[in-house]
Symmetry: C2
Subunit: 362 residues, 2 copies
């Protein structure tokens, strides 16, 4: 059995430079090829990355088609724009390549289903590139939410993921292009809000959702809020925006206490990923009347930004392990599809002025 | 001119014990009478408080009507249930007493308007008892929001105010009585969410609102979420609940940064009231890709719970100053009415399944 999964990157995007480093740091992965529409562009990109973070052998600069035909590539990371992603995911699957797919996976669940069907038919792994799913903090968060005491019964989830994109971005960036990124901020940022909420709910689908398009640019959501409602009474509010400066917080609230995460998408620079639980105490006696905060901090050691245990390295490591293991895990495709279906339904609600819509099951 | 405003308390409620102490600590206030339906109950309540926090002369134990007729009372604090409050606010105003009114002021804006009209006709001060409005933190928060740099242009406000009431409360407490507290958690807690949001927006009314009744008990809201939409694009989400353990956070977000307040209703026990601004920095260069949190903490020295500078003492001090000054300030009644109108419209929306409703101007 091979000891390393051999990666190809389909599209020399800036965001993919982080994944280059993650592949370099994961001991069960290596990078053999990088494709761009213009191989010269791929070569330039490879050279820049090799200078900073070299592989022992530089990856080959190839075209998309060459990459998919290469016998030296087991898995592809596809950071291509959402509007053209299905074509290349399906081609990759048919070529027998495992697929790590950027988010939002598709413009809608129909396109994602086509991708998943192709992956299943060709027995290849599918995963969406949500790095926080692979952070060491998440299992600790899971245990803490589930311990019965810190939060008690869940009641409410609230998340915000925003960054202020600036005027140039809004004019020129593909992330607000009707053709290439039709979901705009909802796809780019809201994907994380929805995934985190589904994670907290152990991927139970909400019964109903609503959404509101707060700002748009030629039909592309720039600012979006929504609310999810589960059977049993838990609800989740979210807000994502390209108009609002960087925030990435989540509050998980229950009958006994709450958890606050200030950086659920990407732990802020440092050597820890943390969250804080609180169960304030009422001190009411006679004319005394105050509330005491009793915070408890939970943290894991996890170095930021290109460390061997950073969440992006773990993502590559986990994916590579699945590829080397030989048996695709369908769970990743299922939770990607759930995320996309909830997103689609929120957007459908927004197009109907915020109407409460039943959320299809997955 | 008198140097002290002479207070009466109409209703020997537990919550009023905190106000007893606040009146005791405000140098421009004293307490001359306490009324209960049963004067014996008032006497017992007075004795308990005198033992803990005595006035030089114990207040008289009287009936409601006696209190309103007393020439020794300038101002009344009315913690009576919302369902019966109008009657006593109007009677108090007609008796020439200034009125500090618990929140929610009334079951709806119509009742509050009747109270405000009575106060105006009789030239007495009206104010709702929202203590955080009088904390020393609020002016600092105002200046920080308005400095043009910390937040930039406002985009989003999010608040949560909740506490887990427990089964006994839900069975027996008047705060969930259809007759006495028909607004339930929306009135008891949501009043703060809405007031804080209006404060941030300098009391501009939202153009539209929506609301959702997440849990109810015989028609009384136990858990409620809503969203406010202003002309110009700012929006505010709120959540209040008797089912969810104590939290009282607010996030104020803009194009340049954000402010987080963890305890906007009542600063947690301690000697400071604080908030934290953050403007994270993107550090993206080559294969490096991380975000740095750059938090800045703002705080005022403000001792909790019955201190001379605590927010409840300031509330009594400010109100007493208005009474002693002789000219009622209509602003307090106006912002109470705005709060109530927004609340009414959110509830109307919830009764229509979350429909987006135009919010009446005030």
């Amino acid at each position: 059995m091979a000891s390393q999964c051999r990666w190809g990157i389909l599209g020399a995007a800036n965001i993919a430079r982080k994944n280059w480093k993650a592949i370099r740091l994961a001991e069960n992965a290596t990078l053999t090829a990088v494709a761009s529409r213009e191989p010269a562009r791929a070569k330039e990109w490879i050279d820049a990355n090799q200078a900073e973070c070299p592989f022992p052998t530089a990856p080959a600069a190839v075209t998309y088609d060459e990459l998919l035909k290469s016998p030296d590539v087991d898995a592809v990371y596809i950071p291509l724009p959402t509007g053209v992603r299905r074509e290349w995911v399906v081609k990759a699957a048919r070529a027998g390549k495992h697929v790590l797919c950027e988010k939002p996976c598709g413009p809608d669940a129909g396109e994602l289903r086509a991708m998943l069907n192709a992956c299943q038919a060709n027995n290849v792994q599918f995963m969406d590139g949500v790095m926080f799913m692979h952070g060491k903090r998440l299992p600790l968060l899971r245990r803490t939410i589930d311990d019965g005491e810190t939060v008690g019964q869940l009641r409410r989830i609230a998340t915000q993921f925003t960054f202020a994109a600036g005027d140039d971005f809004l004019k020129n960036n593909i992330r607000v292009s009707t053709a290439l990124e039709p979901l705009g901020a909802l796809g780019d940022l809201g994907w994380y809000n929805l995934r985190f909420s589904l994670f907290v709910m152990k991927y139970q689908m909400p019964a109903k959702v609503s959404g509101r398009l707060l700002t748009e640019h030629q039909g592309v959501p720039l600012e979006f809020s929504g609310e999810l409602f589960w059977d049993g009474g838990v609800s989740a509010a979210f807000y994502c925006s390209f108009n609002t400066e960087l925030q990435q917080w989540a509050h998980v609230s229950g009958t006994k206490g709450s958890i606050a995460v200030q950086d659920f998408v990407l732990p802020y620079y440092g050597c820890e990923a943390a969250f804080v639980a609180d169960r304030p105490v009422f001190n009411v006696q006679g004319t005394r009347y105050h509330w005491e905060s009793h915070p408890k901090r939970f943290a894991v050691t996890e170095y930021s930004d290109g460390a061997p245990d950073a969440q992006e390295t773990n993502m590559v490591r986990t994916f590579s392990g699945l590829v080397l293991g030989g048996t695709p895990d369908p769970t990743w495709g299922e939770i990607a599809l759930k995320t996309q279906v909830v997103m689609d339904t929120c957007l459908a609600s927004a197009r109907q002025g915020g109407a409460t819509l039943a959320c299809p099951s997955v």
